[in-house]
Each structure stands twice: as C-alpha cells, then as structure tokens.
Amino acid sequence: MPILETQGLTYTYSVGSPFEKTAVDHVDLRIDEGEMVGVMGHTGSGKSTLIQHFNGLLKPTSGKVLLEGKDIWEDKDKIRDVRFKVGLVFQYPEYQIFEETVYKDIAFGPKNMGLDEAEIKRRVMETAEDIGLKEELLDRSPFELSGGQKRRVAIAGVMAMEPKVLILDEPTAGLDPAGRDKILDHIKAYHRRTKNTILIVSHSMEDIAGFADKILVMNKAKLFCYDETKKVFGRSEEISQIGLDVPQITRVFDRLKGRGLDFGKEVYTVGYARDLLLKQLSEREGQ
C-alpha cells in the first residue's frame, strides 16, 4: 500500500512572469510504506521542489499529492496534520535550533502536537537514543554541543514527532567521513525501530548505496527513475550522463565489463564487491 503518491504533479515558479520555470513536470510516483528511499538529482533538477510538496510546503500548480490515499489539499484546514505526518529536515538543520536545552528542543514538535507530558518524555528519550545523544546531554544547552551533535538534536526534533514519512535533505552535508557514517547509522536505527518511511536526499551515491531500498532520481524537472537500488545502479552510464556520481566501485566493474570480464551483477558497495570476487575466485580454483 502506498503511503505517498503523486499524480501528474507539476509545479511552475513565477507563473506569467519572464522568470516562469517549471521545476517539477508531471511526476507520477508511488512510495510504499516502510521504504528507505535515496533521492538524487543535481542542483536544479527539481528534487527540492518535489520534496517540499510532500508535506504541503508547496501547493502543486497542477496534479495531486496523496498521503495514505487522500489528497493532502482536499481540505485546506487539515494541512497542519499533514505536516505532523510528513516530517521534513532541511539542510544544515542545526541553524534552526533555538531552545534552552536539548530536551526542550527535541520536545518542541511533540508539544505542538498536543501530546501529554508522559508521551512527550517517551518520545524524547527514544529518539535521543536512536540518534545517539546520551542522556546527560539532554539538560545541556544545544549551543554548547559540537556541530555534529547539534545536527543530531535538530534531526531528533523532527523524528520525535514520529512522522509516517521522514524526509531529510542532505543530512550529512559538510560532515567528515566518521560523522557522516554515524548520522546514517542512527537514521537506520530509527528506521529499524519505527518502520516508518524515510527519504534521504544525497549527492553521494556511495552513501545511498549503503542504506537505500529504492532510489528516486530527478532530472530536468522530470522523474528520471524510481526503482530498486540495484536496478538503478545497473543504469550507471545513464546516471553519469545526467551529471550524477556513480560509486567508484561501480565504475571499476563497468570498466572490467568493457574488457570482457563480466561478473553479471551490479556492484555498488565494497563489501559486496569483495564477497563476489572471493566467491568467483574460489569457484575458479575448484574447477
């Protein structure tokens, strides 16, 4: 059952002015409940405009966005509920922190939802654990924390609303490799616990390869593809052509294929490449 669906979704900026530009052009999409989706597309491809439709920050010029089968703009007064069900974490979310303590900052969303204190507390404690913030940090001012910790506080604030769909726009931007892996691991932990749908926008296919069940690629305002991760990596040449980066390891196997050494599988992580090569080597020795 799809949790999120778009039908002919189109959005045009500055209609009727010389700057008129269609940023999202007839996108039809069905995202199933519980999926972990990687969203890619170069700057200006329309991916940010697209995701801002998912929680009603933008209203389609034409077409529809359906959440759990219902048009989110059917009743304009209910759009607030949509924002509780679809949580959006912007780029560099640490700049949006404002509360006195980490606890209060994470509790801000749940409080606005009108939840009782006990429920708010449960949510703050659980998300803090998912995102790897130790309990003793909760009483501290968020402004005393490191950049990576601040970012995790900001993400936890949206997670604590337990949205059915969580969308993160480049959650690892500007982090070092260890910080990047840490954030992605914590998001995975949250996904394992809640089984909620997650969309992560990323420029790094190497990162996406590590978590995504499916990949959504936008190109020039259109949906380029939405498919299982391994199928998308099978189209590595096209992906490179539209200006995106294919993992280095995939490019190595493409190169080998060109030399007549075809392993018959789409390779996009180092671990998988190692296992595949070792297996094939031992089979050869067995012969």
Partner: protein
C-alpha cells in the same frame, strides 16, 4: 611518527636533487583558543612543522576538530600563532606591517560560496581586492579578464552572482584570488557545499591553476577522491601532523587512516579487503584503472 614525517621530507628533497624554495614554512606552531575565568584555553594546534615548496599541490585531511582549518587560517594571518612561526614567501605572518603583502601572496577560498561574494556583478566582485590595492584601471581590466578566463567564467562577467550555481560562485571566488596574482592559494573545503558537477568544475579549475600558473595549492578537504588527485597528502589528528606523504603511501595505511575517522577511496579499500583475504593484489591502489588492472590479473592468471 614525527621522525617518519621528517624522513619523508628529506627523501623527497633529495629525490629532486635540488633545493627548492619553500613558499610556506611552519615552525613548531602552537595555537590555543583563549578561554576566560571559567573555561580553560583550548590548545588546537600542538606543534606543527610543515614546509611547502613553491608549486606544490598539497591536500590536508583530518576529521572535524583535527585543527586543519585552524592551520589554514594561520597561512594568511587570519589567526596568529600562540607560539612558533609561520613564514609565507619569507614574510612572518605576525609582522603587521606586511599584512597586505602577505595576503596578496596567499589567497584564501572558503567553504560557503555565498559568504565570500560582495558585489552584484561578477566582474566587479573579481575586481574588488584590486580596487582596494589601488591597481590602475588598465591593469585591473587585464587582470580581471584573465582571471575570469582562467576559471572559464568570462562569459558570465556581467551576470549577477545570485544567478550562478554554487560551483560557478566558487570559481568566481577563485578568480578574485587569482586576480591578486598570488603565489599560493589555500582552499578550506571549497567543494563541501557543492553537487558532484560543481565539485568537478572546482577541482578542474584548481588543478589547472597549479599546472599552468604554477600556483601553490593547499587544499583542505573531506573528500578522499580529491586528496587522491594531489601530489602530497598531509593528515592531521588532534592538532598534530600524523602523516605526510604521497596519496599512495598515505591511503595504503588503511587501518590507521580509518582509526582517525577518515576514509580511503573505495578502490583502495577493496584492494585492502582482498589482500586480507589472501589475494595477491597491491596494497597501494589509488585509481579505478589500477584497481581494474589488478582484478583482471587475478582472474586471468
């Protein structure tokens, strides 16, 4: 560890068989951010010795908080040493009298393209520093045009920077630095906020500046593939230089690199994993070509 670094330096100088001039000389550099009554001083740089020759292309790696940006800010006197010395083209960065000379020789490009553009027209932005220096008009016109051509942005000279992509803005920032005709450019994570296309544009521009104009490049980055394109990689950890060598030599120390929170390129990691499993494969693979060659040898032998 320090001994190893010095040894590598000596070997490199000997290999070239001549004494090169150092554009950047850093001697026992210590730096602390000052605390107050309640908070103690925080020592961020704990004795850095580093020499960089004119024309080198050096990457500086290190996790967040390792001190690499603090080090970069010492090269053009945004920060001054708590103790030790930093010399750029022979100028002591602590010599206030020569601050303008220094900054003309060592230009800096920062992470966020939006924080370093000041004008509403591209060519005016590139001319900004030259105007401050009082460069005559004809000369200024020539330098601005040349710089914009060098970064492939000449066609955009009359555009507004707000209409440009992140990669294009960074190239404008680089043009502004080049117009000063510096000997050295320090770039502090110039591609961190860019998409893959923008990253490629900026890297290609930096490499060309190094090759064609002989400008010394110090590139601070989180991207291992960018470091792999440099000729020398300096790795920082906890305020110290812990490795200083060719990218091949640095990345072949996979476990050490990972233990300080950094990554190695995927091809290097695959080769290392295969070696651990007993395969006969070199440990210092750095490019896709080398990796494909090595795998092909394994399967065709």
């Amino acid at each position: 560890m320090r001994l190893n670094c010095d040894l590598a330096e000596v070997v490199r100088t000997h290999r070239k068989g001549r004494i090169m001039s150092n554009i950047i000389e850093i001697k026992d550099l210590h730096f602390s951010y000052k605390g107050d009554e309640e908070t103690p001083d925080v020592e961020v740089l704990k004795g850095i010795d580093l020499n960089i020759e004119q024309g080198e292309f050096v990457a500086v790696l290190g996790h967040n908080g390792s001190g690499k940006s603090t080090l970069a800010k010492h090269i053009n006197a945004i920060l001054l040493p708590t103790s030790g010395k930093v010399l750029v083209d022979g100028i002591d960065t602590a010599d206030e009298q020569r601050l303008f000379d220094l900054r003309q020789r060592a230009g800096m490009v920062f992470q966020n393209p939006d924080n370093q553009i000041v004008s509403s027209v591209v060519e005016e932005d590139v001319a900004f520093a030259l105007e401050n220096l009082g460069v005559p008009y004809e000369e200024m016109r020539r330098r601005v045009d040349e710089s914009l051509k060098a970064v492939n942005m000449y066609d955009y000279r009359l555009h507004s920077p707000s209409q440009l992509s992140g990669g294009q803005k960074q190239r404008i920032a680089i043009a502004g630095v080049i117009a000063m005709e510096p000997k050295c450019i320090i770039l502090d994570e110039p591609t961190a906020m860019l998409d893959p296309q923008g990253r490629r544009e900026v890297m290609a521009t930096i490499k060309r500046m190094n090759k064609e104009k002989g400008i010394t490049i110090v590139l601070i980055t989180h991207y291992m593939d960018e470091a792999a394109q440099c000729r020398r990689v300096v790795v920082m950890d906890k305020g110290r230089v812990v490795m200083d060598d060719s990218p091949k030599a640095v990345f072949s120390r996979v476990e050490e690199v990972k233990s300080i929170g950094l990554d190695v390129p995927q091809v290097t990691e695959l080769a290392w994993e295969l070696r651990k499993a007993g395969c006969d494969i070199p440990g210092d693979i750095l490019t896709e070509e080398e990796c494909a060659d090595a795998i092909e040898r394994l399967f065709r032998s």
